[in-house]
């Protein structure tokens, strides 16, 4: 029955523990080629994953035995520490090491020559290892691979890259067995399919989900504001909660919100409770300091973002507070799991909506959690940009046969249906650029000799290796205190830095700093004693509310009264109903109003963020044609807000389905979203380099924008693979035209146009959304005209 070897069984007994059933089940089936374990946080998931390894390593093993892959560097290091204790206590002779971007070069070199028994790493570091010619030596003897937090990886291209890497590993180590560890998800089968080598079976084990979480909305004396994301009003109530718990995690949806909240929290933290901040834009030193303080139990609370989302053991967390609407029920459930690592006690979580629309979202999310109604969207076939990078990585490790690589790639769940035509196009792209104009004959990147594909120039391995990865840091600049050896504070986006003038103050790492200047590629700042930063935020990831939540909200709007909503929020909705109207499921509400010198149009399509985004692009294109000079738009899951120089008097023709559809093709060519998608895919596929061996080129005039490449390709080579990839990516990612059609069918021409003299209650939060898309059409010319006219008038010239 029990497959535990005696020394491990004795260790459990000595600890007074007994293994969880799912841990034993996974051990019993350890010889299967693939298994997926679904378990809540704190369910002993990681130990379940490693028990088969520890069991097999009670016997002598030479070389690498188990590869552990996690999405976070910090998680790999953390697991290393946690694993060492049982290894020592059981008395096993096992070497465990981690290898991430932070590992020293000497250690990395040693690991390649003499790999440990257990190597803890990330998808990017694994891809890099596989690019070495000695990969077969490094992975010799490898028996098992454990993919932790696989649900998080499976959502992104990092997962696609990882599974491609596993297909390569499987060829090097035919007996490799795969185990995936996942939090609760809506569709475990989809993840199992990604994990297993096609067509291997992949049984799914479910751990006991544990008791239902205790979760509610945090009541505050003060009502949330009409708009905004700071949740400043809740600080007192949040501090109360921090006081009454051992350790509290305070989650935010964006880095900017975390910074602002942290700043405000400290302004009111009169008893100086030890509270830290942790997010992805902070420097490594800063993050590590907070992490170690957290592990040592020195902090009462951490203000954080998704960077703390994953299964790191943060010790004694007994409360999770979510500031701002959770946007996604699945993520909320996983965050709640951070509280209370004791398996048998319910997790405790509080939701703090930051504004009144988020009150509605929070209530909808609470209902969804109650009904265990998780959300998720299928990902579709494996992306070709990641495949292009994989081909380059494969070429770095040595010559290969196209047929063999194609067969290997097809063993990945996401690439099972990859056609030979698409594979060959990717191969041609990596070899020659794949241009209709056959150029570069003598400078091909890959050449075919005797049927084998080789790198033409072996020195190009360095550049390829430097550009491995699928995470797109939008050009980030380091922020440093001015002066010699100034302390690094973190990073901001280049576009944010570009908008700063000397003396502008902003928040980073919980302190207010003043912008001094840009030196090389570093933002130099000085400390500033200002109470309030002049420039409130810097950008960050914004989550989209899931489709299911959006529909729940729309249904909620139809109630006559809202007894389950706080009075202030109900009053707000009543006000919207009074001055305008509430969106209805089978009608489209369009409001127009002036604000801040521009004319605005707000369309409540409730079609989800991507579709609303596309709607914004199509509508602004039609407005452009109608001479209305649109300036830009911003989209949320429920609405699109467009502003321009001229008012829209009759919106109905703008929403004509046939014209919108006609607009799509013409539109796809030249807009900002396509260019953004292109930049991402072109970087992943190796058309554009993120990192150059010799740092940045001197002089910015040497580099030119990827937009120029996009425009040139579009003009001279419209059927090129990269444009094809961009199109596919946009259609499933940012375009989502199907949902616009669904919305248009649903409303069937029933458009309610409400003209207002100022911002409507429901549209107010839209003005604070980040991710505004500028339209560089005739408005630029019109603006320059009007600017000149104003200047002329001022100068007395007419």
């Amino acid at each position: 029955m029990n497959h535990l070897p005696p020394q491990i069984a004795d260790w459990f007994t000595a600890k007074g523990w007994s293994p969880h059933p799912h841990q034993l089940d996974l051990l019993a089936q350890k010889d299967l080629p693939a298994q997926l374990l679904i378990a809540p946080t704190g369910g002993g998931k990681t130990l379940a994953g490693f028990l088969p390894t520890l069991t097999e390593l009670t016997e002598q093993h030479t070389g690498l035995h188990t590869l552990y892959i996690s999405p976070l560097k910090a998680l790999a290091a953390d697991i290393g520490r946690n694993l060492q204790t049982p290894i020592d206590e059981i008395g096993l002779n096992i070497r465990v090491e981690d290898r991430t971007g932070d590992t020293s070069a000497t250690k990395k070199k040693r690991q390649r020559a003499d790999p440990p028994h257990i190597l803890l790493t990330t998808p990017e570091s694994l891809a890099l290892l596989l690019s070495y010619e000695d990969a077969p030596h490094i992975f010799k003897g490898l028996q098992r691979v454990i993919v932790d937090e696989i649900h998080a990886l499976a959502e992104s291209k990092r997962g696609d890259q990882l599974f491609l890497a596993l297909s390569r590993l499987q060829t090097l180590c035919p007996n490799l067995r795969r185990v995936g560890l996942s939090a609760t998800v809506d569709d475990p089968k989809a993840i199992a399919q990604l994990l297993a080598k096609n067509p291997d079976p992949c049984p799914i084990l479910h751990a006991d989900p544990g008791p239902k979480p205790f979760i509610r909305m945090l009541g505050t004396e003060v009502a949330p504001p009409w708009s905004g994301g700071g949740a400043k009003f809740s600080i007192e109530a949040v501090l109360d909660q921090v006081r009454n718990h051992r350790t509290t995690l305070i989650f935010h949806n964006t880095r900017a919100q975390a910074e602002i909240f942290f700043h405000n929290l400290w302004l009111q933290n009169h008893e100086a409770l030890p509270i830290g901040i942790h997010h992805g834009s902070l420097s490594r030193e800063q993050r590590e300091r907070v992490e170690s303080a957290m592990i040592n139990g020195e902090l009462r609370a951490i203000v954080c973002t998704g960077s703390l989302d994953l299964g790191i053991d943060w010790g004694d967390v007994d409360l999770v507070i979510q500031i701002g609407a959770p946007k996604n029920v699945k993520r909320l459930v996983q965050r709640i799991g951070r509280a209370n690592h004791r398996y048998n006690t319910p997790s405790k979580a509080l939701l703090v909506p930051a504004n009144r629309f988020e009150v509605v979202e929070c209530i909808a999310a609470l209902d969804a959690v109650k009904e265990n109604d998780l959300d998720g969207d299928p990902r579709g076939p494996g992306p070709l940009d990641v495949l292009c990078q994989h081909i380059l990585i494969r070429a770095c490790s040595g010559p290969f046969l196209a047929d063999e690589l194609y067969q290997e790639v097809k063993t990945c769940g996401a690439y099972t249906d990859l056609t030979r035509v698409d594979f060959d196009r990717c191969l041609d792209f990596t070899a020659t650029g794949g241009y209709a104009l056959r150029a570069y004959d003598q400078w091909k990147r890959l050449i075919n000799r005797d049927g084998h594909w080789h790198l033409r120039d072996p020195r190009s391995t360095q550049r390829i290796r430097m550009n491995i990865g699928t995470i797109q840091d939008r050009d980030l600049l380091k922020v440093r205190l001015r002066g010699r050896g100034g302390r690094p504070l973190g990073e901001v986006e280049e576009s944010f830095a570009a908008g700063l003038n000397q003396g502008d103050t902003f928040l980073i790492g919980g302190q207010i700093v003043a912008y001094e200047g840009l030196r090389e590629m570093t933002v130099e700042v000085s400390r500033n004693a200002a109470k309030k930063p002049k420039i409130a935020v810097f950008g960050g990831t914004k989550f989209a509310t899931s489709t299911k939540l959006s529909h729940r909200i729309l249904r909620m709007f139809q109630q006559k009264a809202w007894s389950d909503l706080p009075a202030h929020t109900a009053a707000w909705l009543h006000l919207q109903r009074q001055v305008s109207q509430l969106p209805e499921p089978n009608r489209l509400l369009v409001e127009t109003f002036p604000y801040d010198g521009n004319h605005h149009l707000c369309a409540y399509g409730f079609a989800g963020k991507n579709a609303q985004q596309t709607l914004g692009l199509l509508l602004t294109k039609r407005m452009e044609e109608a001479g209305l000079h649109p300036l830009g738009f911003v989209s949320t899951d429920y609405a699109t807000l467009i502003w321009g120089l001229d008012p829209v008097t009759d919106p109905a023709p703008l929403f004509d389905p046939a014209s919108l559809k006609d607009g799509l093709d013409g539109w796809l060519a030249g807009n900002a979203v396509m260019k953004r998608t292109f930049r991402t895919s072109a970087t992943i596929a190796g058309l554009i380099e993120r990192n150059l061996p010799s740092k940045r080129k001197t002089g910015r005039q040497a580099t030119f924008s990827s937009d120029i490449l996009y425009d040139t390709l579009h003009k001279y080579d419209p059927d090129h693979l990269m444009l094809d990839i961009t199109h596919r990516e946009a259609m499933k990612g940012l375009v989502d035209f199907n949902r616009i059609e669904e919305m248009l069918t649903r409303i069937d021409g029933r458009i309610d146009h409400v003209t207002l003299d100022r911002v409507s209650p429901l549209s107010a939060p839209m003005f604070l959304e980040i991710g505004k898309v500028p339209i560089h059409g005739s408005a630029d010319e019109a603006l320059l005209d009007r600017y000149e006219d104003a200047a002329l008038q001022e100068a007395g010239i007419t």
């Binding site: 104009l437 150029a439 603006l783 002329l792």
Partner: protein, 233 residues
């Protein structure tokens, strides 16, 4: 506005929306920093392979200007090629194209830092060229008046009411002018960054290129939030 007329050492020259400069009195057309062969050079040196269409695009735009203006003299103000090897990489179609453009006019290649030696193509090769009051050279020497140069690819940002509009530009005062890059695969250097920011005084002006040519003061006076703008030719 396809061009803005400005005065340099008493000579009237037109800064065109295309990024080319036209001197009507002498029928001189000047373009700078074509960077032909850029994609070939990148492929040769680094192994990443960008769309090889910049020569076609640059030559087409140059041809459009030549057809519109029928100049007697054409000056390519240096960095016409991304490097000397790139001159050899031109296809037969491209070299024929250049020869066709050269027909019936005097064609002068000014040496650039990317292409410092004579080229294997028709036309004259010069380090600098003086015509009347004006001197043409690739990199500004900081002293000569009436100097027209390239090299820096200046790019200016104008803060309008709603947003900042950034475009490649001519940067000049009454005695010197720096041209924008004409080549398709070229980026820009902000006029607010050194050395561009220190090369001109308070009276510097820019002409933005792109859909139209527009002139602005580079340093709008502090007192009026709107800088003085003027519209010309």
């Amino acid at each position: 506005m396809s061009s803005v007329a400005l005065t340099l050492e008493g000579e009237t020259i037109n800064a065109r929306a295309s990024g080319a400069l036209f001197w009507p009195a002498r029928s001189v057309l000047c373009v700078s920093d074509l960077h032909l062969g850029r994609s070939e050079r990148i492929a040769r040196e680094g192994g990443h392979i960008i769309p090889p269409y910049e020569n076609t695009d640059t030559l087409q735009r140059l041809e459009d200007e030549i057809r519109a203006l029928s100049p007697a003299t054409i000056i390519c103000l240096g960095d016409s090629f991304d490097d000397l090897a790139a001159t050899k990489s031109l296809t037969e179609i491209e070299t024929d194209w250049i020869t066709r453009l050269q027909a019936g006019c005097e064609w002068i290649w000014i040496e650039g830092n990317h292409d410092p030696a004579p080229l294997d193509l028709g036309g004259t090769h010069r380090e600098t060229l003086r015509i009347g009051a004006l001197t043409f050279r690739h990199i500004a020497d900081g002293q000569t008046t009436g100097e027209i140069s390239g090299h820096y690819h200046p790019k200016a940002s104008i803060q309008t009411r709603s947003r900042t509009v950034s475009r490649a530009c001519f940067l000049f005062d009454t005695s010197r002018l720096i041209m924008p890059a004409f080549g398709t695969y070229t980026g820009g250097m902000k006029t607010s960054k050194p050395p561009l920011s220190t090369m001109f005084g308070k009276d510097a002006q820019v002409v933005l290129t792109g859909k139209s040519a527009r002139r602005f003061d580079l340093h709008p006076s502090k007192r009026s939030s709107k800088p003085a703008a003027s519209r010309s030719g």
